[in-house]
């Protein structure tokens, strides 16, 4: 009885930690360092999926670019049942990239043709829409 009580307590505590850990600063920093490679950190954005509301199936963010500069956009979404599909649009909202055909691709490198705002879209897998442990996150690097 004593053992069961202890194991149950530790299990509940561990579950709580892993749910928080998905969007923790330590996790995001670790993923940035691993994923940016030779690119220099520009910025990161991260939020638990639950922060967007239960019915949100498309999450959108904008980021600034300068013409002729080289960038890497890094998909850092964590805790989903499947790899999150993401797409990148240029300043005129033309689709530049999507990992739809190969979801294992987690980053996109490009040279901006014009200064302005690019958009990144994340398509949330339907199975995860009510999840409390998923984190929507991305980072931008430059050279």
């Amino acid at each position: 009885m004593k053992k069961i009580f202890f194991i149950l307590t530790i299990a509940i505590a561990s579950f709580g930690q892993s749910a928080f850990a998905q969007c923790s600063d330590k996790t995001i920093k670790k993923l940035c360092k691993e994923g940016l490679g030779t690119y220099i950190f520009e910025s990161a954005a991260f939020k638990p999926l639950s922060a967007f509301g239960a019915k949100k199936n498309l999450v959108e963010a904008a980021f600034s670019v300068y013409s002729q500069e080289s960038y890497r956009v890094l998909n850092l979404c964590q805790g989903f049942s499947d790899v999150v599909e993401f797409a990148i649009y240029d300043t005129d909202h033309n689709l530049l990239f999507s990992n739809k055909s190969d979801k294992s691709v987690k980053f996109y490198d490009f040279v901006a043709q014009k200064s302005g705002d690019f958009t990144i879209e994340f398509k949330i897998p339907p199975a995860d829409m009510k999840s409390t442990s998923c984190c929507v996150a991305f980072a931008i690097g430059y050279k």
Partner: protein, 282 residues
Amino acid sequence: MNFKSRLATAGIILSVAFGCNQNTDKDTSGLDSTGADSSMTARDAEAETKTQDFIQSLPSPIHVARIFQRAGLKYISGITNPAANSSKYMSPYSKSINLGIYTTDLSYCTFNDQSQEAISYFKAVKTLTDGLNLTSIFESTNMVPRFERNIGNKDSLVTLMATMSMESDILLKQTSRLDIAYLSFAGAWIESAYIATQMLKNKRNPDILKRLLDQNNSLGKLIALLKDYDDKQEFDALIASLSDVKTSLDVLNSENTTTHEEEFKKLVTKVEKLRNDRVNDN
């Protein structure tokens, strides 16, 4: 162990486990000791929900300094805010703005191989981050000794600045201290515009001018983000001054070039006043 004791043990384990994250946030945010009002966090959350799904992403001041340097912005001795001023900034507002100003000065000196000055600015940035209770940015990576050890190695210094930028960006977002993030970006924006306009007023370089005009986009975003705090007098004054600068940049970005020379002189004057007021604000 009776049931009450087991319950107490379980309670302690659970509170430690779940409390860790909350304590981490509280410790690193330190809102109470910076004097920032407690409504700021709630306001930050509201600001986040207003702007699309994520808050607007602003460019890194270090990257902006790099872009200006690539365009030909050279080092001008004495143009930056003296690092010794860092100890005179007392309010969270002036500390936040001058943190951004010093970040640009640090980048400007590093990219122009002014290593000794760069060390002074690195320390000035640390003084202000400590003053804003953002100590963990430097402590977690033992950054100051590493910066000193790498003097003369520009690539290593840039890597360290990027680490500092990442620690700062992620910490401020994790702890919802967006007021500091926006003010710091404002300071960095103002300082880079100041250095660029000071150079341009003596010698016109079309590449630097183009990069200066490119800053209009991030300025527009910044003004929109600052408007969530416009009930505070100092934010309101800053927004008014930045908007005035944006008016000039709008004209200079327009196709009608007949008024450009006159408008450029206005821009130089506006940026000088905006920057000098913030540098001299304690």
